[in-house]
Symmetry: C2
Subunit: 164 residues, 2 copies
DNA sequence: TCATGTATTTTGATTTTCAAACTATAATCC
DNA sequence: GGATTATAGTTTGAAAATCAAAATACATGA
């Protein structure tokens, strides 16, 4: 078996060509952007793993708390889609979280098939604690940025979020 | 059980205050930044889940291929830390991936305790296919951005990556 | 009304994961 | 150098997470 030696490390952004906006430059920027996004995702992912391990939760549980904390009450199906598991898996997961008093189930107002899951006060507290860790990370990661740069970053990231 | 109704949806970035760079403004920008990052992470995460399900891989396996594709050969320990699992877990995972001919193990040049894992040609091909999907997503997400904005985004994200 | 589609739960099997014990090598300290 | 301690990786057995498929209940539309 031959082995591939090619890899993509050390792709660094150059901010010197922001005026050369032809299509070739755009293409290479897309590649660079793709790889910094992947790297950012990977690093956030392993940071989250480490945090979660320390606290004794599972990654999915924290993800659930994060989603409910950020978006508010949600239907099982919605939540399952966002987390990326089947509803069957989510049912047993939510069972445990209900038992731990982090979330409650309540009926959907208009659709009697649906069930809304929402954080309890205890769950909300947990979310806020986790959110504070995230905020600390965010602050650390952007410590060397100017306020203007941070504002630009919020703008660009939220525009990406809206395109999903 | 009382239920918490507070949540944090609809936090949107405003790019109108980039000149008001006092400390209070910086603080609220950090909060906004934190939440767009969390949302971005969540959305990427469920996108990756969906992709992975379709292809019949596990999320961890794709993560491994992604890491090896981006960073090149790595020691088991390094890889386990980046993925966020124990080395015991990684051993069985890599066993399967070796069997599938996606990766090979080879001895570390200087440390005889260590083992390097690296992509085979087949694994490299898989990585490139997955990377192409990521690139397509990146392109879609930034379709409405100017070239300058994309360059700025690469710059800001890679600076965050360097602070991890 | 009846057929089809959607939301959730349950079940049993499979897969993933961990912690702990074990082997082998490296580094450190007398 | 030789003993001790630390690190890298594997194995093992048990616990946890996950899935697919079946079952139930409700919704939607012909």
């Amino acid at each position: 078996m031959t082995v591939a030696h090619h890899h993509l490390s050390n792709l660094q952004a150059s901010d010197s060509d922001s005026t050369a906006a032809n299509s070739t430059a755009a293409h290479s920027t897309d590649h660079a952007l793709n790889h910094v996004i992947i790297e950012f995702y990977e690093k956030l992912s392993s940071w989250e793993h480490a945090i979660v391990r320390d606290k004794g939760f599972s990654l999915s549980q924290v993800h659930t708390i994060e989603l409910l904390g950020v978006h508010g009450a949600m239907r099982m199906k919605e939540l399952a889609d966002k987390i990326g598991v089947t509803t069957g898996t989510l049912t047993v997961q939510i069972d445990k979280m209900v038992e731990a008093l982090w979330v409650v189930r309540r009926p959907h107002e208009t659709d009697r098939r649906s069930i809304l899951v929402e954080l309890t006060d205890k769950g909300q507290t947990l979310f806020l604690e986790h959110d504070a860790l995230h905020l600390q990370l965010t602050t650390d990661l952007t410590a060397k940025m100017s306020c203007e740069e941070r504002v630009v970053l919020v703008n660009l990231l939220s525009r990406m979020n809206n395109e999903f």
